[in-house]
Symmetry: C2
Subunit: 280 residues, 2 copies
Amino acid sequence: MTEANSEEAAVRPVFYVSDGTGITAETIGHSLLTQFTGTRFQTDRISFVDDEEKALDAADRIRRAGEKAGSRPIVVNSCVDPRLSAALAQSGALMLDVFAPFIEPLERELGAMRQARVGQAHGIVDFDTYHRRINAMNFALTHDDGVAINYDEADVILVAVSRAGKTPTCVYLALHYGIRAANYPLTDGDLETDRLPARLRPYRRKLFALTIDPERLHQIRQERRPNSSYARLDTCRREVAAGEAMFQVERLPTLSTTNKSIEEISSKVLSTLGLQREMF
Amino acid sequence: MTEANSEEAAVRPVFYVSDGTGITAETIGHSLLTQFTGTRFQTDRISFVDDEEKALDAADRIRRAGEKAGSRPIVVNSCVDPRLSAALAQSGALMLDVFAPFIEPLERELGAMRQARVGQAHGIVDFDTYHRRINAMNFALTHDDGVAINYDEADVILVAVSRAGKTPTCVYLALHYGIRAANYPLTDGDLETDRLPARLRPYRRKLFALTIDPERLHQIRQERRPNSSYARLDTCRREVAAGEAMFQVERLPTLSTTNKSIEEISSKVLSTLGLQREMF
């Protein structure tokens, strides 16, 4: 967001405004802004704007930010009530309403009017949904680094050497999709052969392997345990090479996590294993 | 997504199609669908559609899903290349392009053309960004339940009795905003007085308290440790009452997590403490 052409370039204030959490507005706004690399943006979130007074307060704050920056603000707005959008528009900002363009085509297609209640997407949840999600999260955390594993219950088992990206991916899959993702960290013993560890063999169809560039792994492990033999570049090279040999012999779906975001790794796991889950 | 009017109602196939992870398409699509409660939707994600052949394959799959369901599919599409969108449209689906309505107004406002590269929002990341995020995540996990705490480094410290929602909130804040969120679980000893535990006093401005309905807490703890004294309803009532008394005396910002989503709790923490961070 802050790649500037020059230090003197005007900063453009951007506000994600919502009657709920603002996550939808922020997600699409963020995606839009990444497509305009020549501008510096200063982003702010204004959540839970659910009455006209709050909307007018927000409009005032937005207008002042524009005056201070010397440029017209941009509002990415997901309020469902048009009166709130109208109040926000008094800021003079460029208004981008994230739902408006899609509601009419959907209403026409579905032959039904939208139910314009606020904050539905990330709002109140029923106990079962909450529970499923938290259970998946506990699963991801409990199973971290091979502790207390019951692989029967896992939807997916990520196999990799230490610090290749298993934990964040497991947690992301749990949080966003309620998927029970387990970790299997490859030990030195496992890496002595190019065959799967015996414990994993019954679960072949749940396995997904992660690999990583050894230099990057070295960099990550150095931060974690500086100057340990664990972090040494030749250790990383040896472990990665042995892991990759195993993945190839066993024909596991394999992804390199180097320079990949957690979202990207998670999406690849889902699409490769054909896991279709509803987003939370 | 599955609240049906009747079991016989036609299911409407919905596809989130993207040249990258599909997270943006899925987030806005999910928000849109929650506004149409009278329809049953069957949602699928087709990620990494980054050439025309994949787009035509996707179109074919979408068309067949519509034939099978006996209703016209809906495509929520975030491909930036118009040729891919055109190929997808051959499915005959209702096409909702999540970027199209906003690009022209933004180009006009910014006086610049978009850089239409694929999957930028959740794609390749530099080492520093990745590292900041993973460090925050390690922080959230390491500090869980009071282990090895260095509160000086925390951006926020969530204070609550056990199982009131601290861990998922910490992990969400770390994953999505790179915020170092620490846990402080209130112990029986802490709850004997209505003053803050001594360890927390230097960090007053970082504190955010969570509370929960005792019945709900009982339900959650029962799943975790059935029929333990820890899970008993009267234990839950006593702990919650003592915690709330402390939060009130110490005037901590407090939120009840009952029936709230992790996103909602996280957003409230951010907006209350005035933490403004860029989304990952």
